[in-house]
């Protein structure tokens, strides 16, 4: 399944689920990444990590490996 880490700039997708096994998964959900939400990759830092996504009207920066546990449709 495709993850948020594989998105291209400006690509809008819907979150399918968040991988429970990742240690950061709880905080990722708490900050608003829940199934059904639309996200978009807005910025990449130099070296392409971390990534900034738009979610629920704000921008959240995540490491690539953390974005990887957000599975999208």
């Amino acid at each position: 399944m495709k993850s948020a880490a594989q998105l291209k700039f400006g690509e809008k997708v819907t979150i399918k689920n968040v991988d429970d096994s990742h240690p950061s998964s709880r905080r990722i959900i708490e900050i608003g990444f829940t199934p059904g939400q639309e996200i978009e990759l807005v910025n990449k830092s130099t070296f392409n990590d971390p990534l900034a996504f738009s979610i629920r009207g704000t921008l959240i920066a995540l490491r690539r490996n953390e974005a990887d546990c957000i599975k999208v449709e």
């Binding site: 240690p23 900050i31 199934p35 830092s45 704000t58």
Partner: protein, 678 residues
């Protein structure tokens, strides 16, 4: 602060997610009356204040670090949450005010929902209403209140509209709630599915309370926008409300550019440092000269006896030694606070996260490291925001290598010795080189320590970087000022007493036991006699006895015990090195500045009993190198012990940094001499 006087006042805790306007509200409520206090048993800071008198409400209010949820993720969150359930110092709060950014309802209501589940007595303060209005929406706060069975009030942080109503609600709440202690329960169900279910409920609530903005004369454009929106409101309203500020997106296109972002970041940092030195330098010499002046005047007034000497050279100079860093600390924190308030600091952390994670640090290490250039103490406290323990310990470990402001007067003096007066510009250049060298060394040391992390740092948990990038906005001067003031007070409280006491100890050691030495003063003028007496007193003092023990250690560096005494006294604060040199090398008459007088005294100083110069290009360069590395600050050692939770880290810091300092100074002195530079 006087706790006994206010202990019977009701206690209100202010909480909210990061960037929810919590601190702005706190400043509205408490004015500037608040004080910064540490959480009991921890050094996370929070502010405690009383309501401004004009509100006629007798209550204490605590501001706490921002939290996303009631389940902690980092040490600062943990302390904030524990204190929410029961603050050890102030007890249980009577009321919790939770701030919610109304343009972020679907995220910020999570905390409200959790507080409600835990049965807290709360009032919801809806902030950033203006931003929501600009998006063409309004919020039905009565409905929101009904849904959670509490009061909800709209607040406009910028103008203060809504504060009066909030005060009214607080007053009503406190009166009706008297003697009815709520039963707080811990969150029972916090697995992922429950969280996702909670979010679904929140989205439902958001749908119910979000309304199209009413026509308002203040916002003429909104009505037009609403006409078009009205049809969409039911189906697409959330989508509209969840649009990101287009200005922020445009600015980020440049500042977070994949290629240029990091370059711009380094440029910004470079500019900050240069401006700190430009701005702080005149202020530092102002403070320095001011204390020099009153010290001299006091001495004249009280006469040249031991009491006058104690007050002038012990007490007044000791106070000056503390206050001389204040300008630089204030300026650094003003600039840092401004950057934070505009939203750029979060982006800086994001840009630097990857490079820092390569050496075992975190993007969130960046702000503490930056603060380290002012003072290691607030910097070490700031590491609390790093969730990963190992990264936090490593950040604490390398912070003393950031050239703090205490080292600036030392470098200034030593560079003034090395350089002819006509090439002052070169001094600025070399100073920048020293800072750069210190920073690069810290990176190298961090990466070496990171290689041995399992043996050394003894903590292994998930490395994480999750950070909200707030919308860009103009900084609020009052908030920035308050924060700078709080950080400066932290420094004064932590470092002040240590520096002050050590200055006194140093005075005692250099004055006793031979307070009134018998010397033949025939043929000396009054001023010369004083110098001769002082010199005799010092050379027969306890400090001299102690210093002579250091002779074997100082000789390989081409120095003698007198510099050793100055180095030991620098443990109070590094810049005390300068004033002890003045004392030890008998600088009594001021040339135009103290620094010039010390430099001339240094040029004349000879190694004991020989006619070889003590201070030469090689030995002074060695001293500079020594100061870059040496862990020479008792306050830092104390804070490092407390924050890292044991002696392990501070002991490693002392051993490793002092060895590097000594060995590299030794190497530099001897290599220079090998090349014929004496």
């Amino acid at each position: 602060m006087n706790l006994t006087k206010t202990i019977n006042y009701p206690l209100i805790t202010l909480i909210g997610p990061p960037n929810s306007g919590k601190t702005t509200l706190f400043n509205h409520l408490s004015g500037s009356s608040h004080k910064t206090v540490n959480y009991p048993g921890a050094t996370v800071e929070y502010s405690v204040g009383k309501f401004q008198e004009k509100y006629e409400l007798k209550a204490q209010i605590i501001d706490s670090p921002g939290i996303v949820s009631l389940i902690s993720h980092s040490p600062d969150e943990e302390v904030a949450i524990n204190s929410l359930f029961s603050n050890e110092k102030f007890g249980k709060s009577d009321l919790v005010i939770v701030t919610v950014d109304s343009s972020q309802l679907s995220r910020h209501l999570l905390l409200v929902k959790q507080l409600s589940e835990c049965n807290f007595n709360m009032i919801i303060a809806l902030t950033m209403i203006d931003i929501l209005n600009r998006k063409g929406f309004d919020v039905d706060e009565k409905k929101l209140g009904n849904l959670f069975g509490c009061d909800a009030v709209k607040i406009e942080g910028r103008t203060g509209i809504g504060i009066k109503e909030l005060i009214l609600k607080i007053d009503e709440n406190l009166k009706s709630n008297n003697g009815k202690p709520e039963k707080r329960i811990n969150l029972i169900n916090n697995n992922h599915d429950a969280l996702i279910e909670t979010f679904k409920q929140i989205e439902q609530i958001e749908n119910e309370i979000l309304l199209p903005a009413k026509q308002s004369s203040e916002l003429p454009n909104v009505y037009e926008a609403n006409k078009q929106l009205k049809m969409l409101v039911d189906i697409g309203k959330k989508a509209e409300c969840h649009k990101i500020d287009t200005r922020t997106l445009k600015i980020d296109k440049i500042l977070l550019h994949p290629t240029w972002g990091l370059a711009i970041f380094f440029l910004v940092m470079g500019l900050i440092f240069t401006s700190i030195f430009w701005l702080a330098e005149p202020l530092i010499s102002l403070v320095d000269n001011f204390f020099g002046l009153i010290s001299n005047e006091t001495l004249k007034l009280l006469g040249y006896n031991w009491l006058g000497d104690l007050i002038a050279n012990g007490l007044i100079s000791g106070t000056g030694a503390i206050l001389v860093f204040v300008p630089q600390i204030i300026i650094l924190f003003l600039i840092l606070g401004t950057l934070e308030d505009t939203g750029y600091l979060a982006r800086g952390a994001m840009l630097i996260d990857k490079p820092l994670s390569k050496i075992g640090l975190n993007g969130k290490s960046f702000v503490p490291m930056l603060s380290g250039f002012a003072c290691a103490i607030p910097a070490i406290l700031a590491t609390r925001t790093i969730p990963n323990r190992r990264e936090r310990l490593l950040t604490i470990f390398i912070i003393p290598l950031m050239s703090c402001s205490a080292r600036l007067p030392v470098y200034a003096l030593l560079l003034a010795f090395l350089l002819p007066p006509e090439s002052a510009w070169l001094g600025g250049f070399l100073l920048a080189a020293i800072y750069l060298f210190g920073t690069l060394s810290s990176i190298i040391i961090a990466s070496i320590v990171n290689k041995f992390k399992n043996k050394f740092l003894k903590a292994n948990d998930n490395s994480s970087f999750i950070l909200e990038l707030p919308a860009y906005r103009a900084p609020k001067f009052r908030v920035v000022m308050n924060n700078a003031r709080a950080s400066t007070f932290t420094y004064l409280k932590k470092a002040g007493p240590v520096i002050f006491i050590l200055s006194l100890v140093l005075w005692l050691l250099t004055t006793f036991p031979n307070v009134n030495p018998q010397v033949n003063l025939a043929g000396f003028s009054e001023e010369q006699s004083l110098t001769v007496i002082k010199a005799e007193r010092l050379s027969t003092s306890y400090a001299a006895d102690l210093g002579k023990l250091l002779q074997p250690a100082m000789a390989p560096l081409g120095l003698d015990w007198r510099v050793g005494v100055a180095l030991i006294s620098a443990f109070a604060a590094r810049e005390v090195f300068v004033s002890s040199l003045a004392l030890i090398f008998k600088v009594t008459s001021y040339e135009n500045t103290l620094q010039n007088s010390i430099v001339s005294a240094m040029r004349q100083a000879k190694i004991n009993g020989s006619d070889k110069h003590l201070f030469t290009t090689s030995t002074v360069t060695g001293l500079i190198i020594f100061f870059i590395f040496a862990m020479q600050c008792l306050s830092t050692i104390a804070v490092s012990k407390k924050e890292s939770g044991g002696w392990r880290i501070p002991i490693f810091q002392i051993i490793i940094f002092s060895s590097i300092a000594y060995i590299s100074a030794f190497a530099v002195v001897n290599v220079l001499r090998l090349f014929g530079i004496n």
